[in-house]
């Protein structure tokens, strides 16, 4: 990481503060202030408002003075009497665990294989990461063509397109989540593969040669030498995977608006803010729950990543 080792000239050039003119300082201030204000006003202010509103009851129709502060009432309702909440939590958890276990591992496996200087490696790579450029909503449409009960690819191949024996991949709440997970993984594998391929390129070749000379077989060399060297990428992959799982929305939205077995926290937030039955406080409560889970992963990641920068400063 570049942050871990600021070049020595950096240190000297950074001490030239007094040489900046007033105009230069003004320019620097504007360059920082405009984007920061925009970002804070549109991302962090609403985040804080979400937290505040999660303690309120408000239908959003009346003015701000119709807001009632109800303490933890929304949280109590979400946890006890809101039927789709626990299924949504369960689905988000399944999504997360599945994403971590299946597409991530497979992406790493593919990256490792594709890093072996095969002649056609570029062709394989291109095919596997093609879905990465597609919108998740479009991934949903494409897989609908595969899963569709009477017109879809799978049921036609299995010969189960008649009423009575057809498999309802998207409508049956016992299997539709898994069908969606496969569709989402189709895209996620390519993304993970690209990240790991970049990581593998930066693993020192002499490390592997040393392992080979010591008589390590492929698996041993991978587990003991290559995988530990991939640590920075592993952290990134973990965060990307967790965030993608929590953000999952459009792929289930285009299938059935996230109902009937496809409930997710992100969908529940959406359900509570638009339409006539808009419940701002309740929706915010769900958003805060999502926020808490996200931050539980984001903050440690930022600390791990930027700690390098801090160490560099102390040395100087």
């Amino acid at each position: 990481m570049a942050v871990t080792k600021p070049a020595p000239p950096a240190a000297t050039s950074r001490r030239r503060g007094p040489r900046l003119t007033r105009r230069d300082k003004l320019v620097l201030a504007v360059m920082i202030a405009v984007p920061t204000l925009l970002h804070v006003a549109l991302i962090w202010v609403p985040t804080l408002l979400s937290v505040a509103l999660s303690f309120a009851r408000w239908d959003g129709i009346g003015g701000l003075d119709t807001i009632q502060w109800v303490g933890l009432e929304n949280y109590r309702q979400v946890f006890t009497i809101y039927p789709p909440f626990w299924p949504a939590v369960q689905h988000n958890l399944i999504w997360l665990v599945f994403f971590l276990l299946i597409p991530t591992t497979f992406g790493l496996f593919l990256a490792h294989q594709l890093d072996k200087q095969l002649r056609a490696t570029r062709i394989y790579q291109s095919a596997i990461y093609l879905p990465v450029v597609l919108a998740l909503a479009i991934v949903g449409f494409i897989w609908q063509l595969v899963y569709s009960p009477e017109q879809g690819l799978i049921n036609n191949l299995l010969g189960r397109t008649e009423q009575g024996n057809l498999i309802d991949w998207l409508g049956n709440p016992r299997i539709n989540l898994w069908a969606m997970l496969i569709a989402a993984s189709w895209r996620h594998v390519g993304c993970i593969m690209i990240l790991y391929l970049a990581g593998l390129k930066s693993v020192d070749a002499s490390l592997r040669e040393a392992a080979a000379i010591d008589g390590a077989n492929e698996w041993q060399a991978f587990r003991r030498v290559v995988f530990p060297a991939l640590k920075p990428i592993n952290v990134v992959v973990l965060v990307v995977t967790v965030i993608e799982s929590l953000r999952a929305f459009e792929i289930v939205w285009v299938i059935n608006a996230g109902r009937n077995g496809l409930e997710l926290l992100s969908v529940l937030v959406y359900d509570n803010i638009v339409g006539e039955a808009s419940r701002i406080g309740f929706g915010s409560t769900l958003a805060v729950i999502l926020l808490t889970v996200s931050l539980a992963f984001i903050i440690p990641y930022l600390v791990v990543y930027f700690r390098g920068g801090l160490v560099g400063r102390e040395v100087r």
Binding site: A2, G17, I32, P46, L118, L130, L145, C191
Partner: protein, 310 residues
């Protein structure tokens, strides 16, 4: 990580093939054959859903109705594409998307370059805090902020020449600024790491010659960041183009929505059978597929440069 990533970015991929050519030709080993067979199978499996959509979209509905979907075609034509294009008035939605994506990408890259320049070249006290705020903001799920944001957009007045409704809600301006605010984090992260690898002597020399801060930024740093900017532009184009959520929630008028968000509305109204849905989905995906075929290297470079994704 940035050092490694930038290495990937600046050192062209040609390095690998030369290494292969330098070695003596390998014998055909059974392990390699098995691996290649496995990878061919995987690559084909990965292409199947897309190829299936293409195949379905090229067949007239009557043809599939008679012969079934898994069958040899009696007839192949582009009627579904023509129908999707005309019935659903797709050109309008492409234009809507363009109105959002182009300003959003330009603004994101401009603002991100500003912040990255300052935090990477000057030792201001808030450097680390700023980077963390932007990066964390970029990682938040959009649903976390959508409830208050939706209310804010409804309350925020906008002159009528900017939006008929007089609010930030349901306007292109609103969609553009939320994209910029959200995507800044990733671009700042990548660009600041990239700028840190540019030797300090360069700006130092300029400073001695009396160049202003702006001149250092515009004449020295920005030209050197072209590779990173190109990669980021490709990536951001794809991400913003692919947005579904913001336009779904922050816009009301279906006809104003960008194509990816509009697609789910169009389905059911105009796209009645799977053949037409396939054609519509492929048309909506077309610009990103073009990016994939033409700018593949930029796209991958953008992803690996940051090695983190928003």
């Amino acid at each position: 990580m940035a050092t490694a990533d930038v290495e990937v970015a600046t050192k062209p991929r040609e390095a690998a093939p030369t290494a292969v050519a330098g070695r003596p030709r390998r014998r055909l080993r059974p392990g390699r054959v098995v691996l290649n067979v496995f990878l061919i199978a995987t690559a084909l499996a990965w292409l199947t859903p897309l190829l299936w959509s293409v195949y379905t979209s090229l067949r007239p509905y009557e043809d599939t109705a008679v012969r079934g979907y898994v069958s040899l075609p009696g007839e192949l034509n582009v009627d579904n594409f023509v129908n999707a294009w005309n019935q659903a008035e797709l050109p309008r939605y492409y234009l809507n998307t363009l109105l959002i994506v182009v300003p959003a990408v330009i603004l994101t890259l401009t603002f991100a370059s500003f912040v990255a320049f300052v935090v990477s070249r000057f030792d201001i006290r808030l450097n680390l805090a700023l980077l963390m705020v932007f990066t964390a903001g970029n990682l938040l799920p959009p649903q976390v902020i959508i409830t208050p944001l939706y209310r804010l957009y409804l309350e925020m007045p906008l002159p009528y020449w900017m939006n008929d409704l007089g609010t930030l809600y349901d306007s292109y301006w609103g969609i553009i600024v939320i994209h910029v605010a959200f995507q800044l984090g990733f671009c700042i992260f990548v660009l600041s790491n990239y700028m840190k690898t540019i030797p300090y002597e360069l700006t130092e020399a300029a400073l001695v010659d009396g160049a202003t801060v702006w001149r250092q930024f515009w004449k020295i740093i920005m030209p050197l960041c072209r590779p990173a900017l190109a990669a980021l532009a490709t990536l951001e184009f794809t991400w913003i183009y692919n947005d579904f959520f913001w336009a779904l929630v922050l816009m009301r008028t279906g006809e104003k929505r960008p194509i990816v968000s509009a697609l789910s509305n169009l389905k059911g109204v105009f796209f009645v059978d799977n053949n037409l849905i396939a054609a519509g989905a492929l048309l909506a995906a077309l610009p990103t597929l073009i990016v994939y075929f033409v700018l593949q290297r930029q796209f991958v470079r953008g992803l690996t440069l940051g090695a983190t994704k928003g």
